[in-house]
């Protein structure tokens, strides 16, 4: 899933590196608003959680398996800025300590999985939250939709980068069709898992779900009379 070294040419890798640095720089400022001075320990622990979540594989087709990207999931749970930071740090740790994803492709990987997946996931989630009835039960389906959209979106941007700086003479149209159809399937898995995980957190600790805060703020205190028996 991670782009390795040599897959895209050097100019494209450097350009995505600049994009990634700008995006992470913005996220560093934004995350202070979401998590204030708790940013370092909280984002660190959430990054660890995302990493653990990515270790869970689900079977896709023909014996291959995909795993959670976690971009949309992290965006809904801790907010988009913190999610960008968490995902970027996960990718950095994977590149430096696990040789997963090339060091020159780090910018590409951050752009695709930390920026595109999180931003698309968050925009879709915010849109769906607006359309669906304003109840806590709408949060999980909105998150599932965001999870689904985030995966093909990242795949589409990858195809775009591949068209610009790909190092293999493959027809971009073929790549686009293959990437989108394959990642639509992975997106379904991502959607189901994202929706279920967000749903289970909303059921237990809705106050922890960043995406549920506007809905929670509107909830009124309900006092019910219960007849003692």
């Amino acid at each position: 899933m991670h782009v390795p070294d040599g897959f895209l040419d050097a100019p494209t890798s450097l350009a995505t590196g600049v994009v990634a640095m700008a995006g992470v720089g913005l996220a560093l400022r934004g995350a202070r608003r979401e998590l204030d001075d708790r940013t370092a320990p909280m984002a660190g622990l959430v990054a660890t959680f995302v990493f653990a979540g990515q270790m869970m594989n689900f079977p896709v087709a023909a014996g291959t398996s995909g795993h959670l990207l976690g971009g949309a999931l992290a965006a809904v749970l801790v907010g988009p800025w913190s999610a960008v930071l968490c995902l970027s740090v996960v990718l950095l740790v994977q590149a430096l300590f696990m040789a997963d994803g090339g060091i020159t492709a780090l910018g590409t990987n951050v752009t695709l999985m930390a920026l595109v997946a999180v931003v698309v996931g968050w925009v879709v989630f915010a849109g769906a939250r607006r359309v669906l009835p304003r109840r806590t039960s709408s949060i999980a389906p909105a998150a599932a939709l965001a999870g689904f959209a985030s995966v093909p979106a990242a795949a589409a941007v990858f195809t775009l980068l591949f068209t610009v700086g790909g190092q293999a003479p493959v027809d971009p149209g073929t790549v686009l069709v293959a990437m989108l159809s394959w990642h639509a399937v992975i997106g379904v898995g991502e959607a189901v898992i994202t929706g279920l995980v967000v749903g289970s957190v909303v059921a237990v600790r809705p106050d922890l779900v960043y995406g549920a805060r506007p809905v929670l703020a509107e909830r009124e205190l309900e006092i019910r009379e219960v007849v003692a028996r």
Binding site: D5, G44, L85, A99, I103, L208
Partner: protein, 222 residues
Amino acid sequence: MGAGHKHRLHYHGHSPVHRTPAHVKLLALVAFMLVVVATPAGWWTFHGVQAVLLLGVVAASRVPPLYLAKRMVVEVPFVVFALLVPFVATGPRTDVLGLSLSEPGLVAAGALLAKGTLGVLASLTLAATTEAPDLLRGLQRLRMPDLLVQIMGFMIRYLDVVTGELGRMTTAMRARGCEPRSPRHWPVLARAMGSLFIRSYERGERVHLAMLSRGYDGSLPS
């Protein structure tokens, strides 16, 4: 937390490569890989020189080659893709063992494999010869934003704690007849992930409070 904080790929040693400061190794890795990536497809001798250089560093690090070779499996999905390229690539076709393959595709696949393999081996060598705290200090010296270094430090510190927790939860689920790979059990798995998130978040809050009580003011004492 009693166990050593050594990360999984690290290979203990005292070679010149182990002793080189981490920021030098990081810069060397990035520079080396940029040269590798910028090498045009088909310059096989150039890739050969790069491989000899890299193998020289590996030999100097005295990390057993088998140790690195076993960990190169992370490359496998990418190798499968590279092997597919000659079949789908455009350009004039040629016959190899009765299969019709694209000529530019073969060259591109060879270059992809060479660059990818060099990249994985170089990254593995860095990971095997550098301890996590040294690498963090190296990134700090290279002016990576302090907050990012801190987040990374926390992630590395709690990586084994959280993955260990996930492992115990999976064991408990399996003991109760849950098969994590089957989609039928995804709801159970998702609830486990949900509680893992809550536990991680609450652990983060406790860590933050513990840090505050020890005088944390937004930056770690060096």
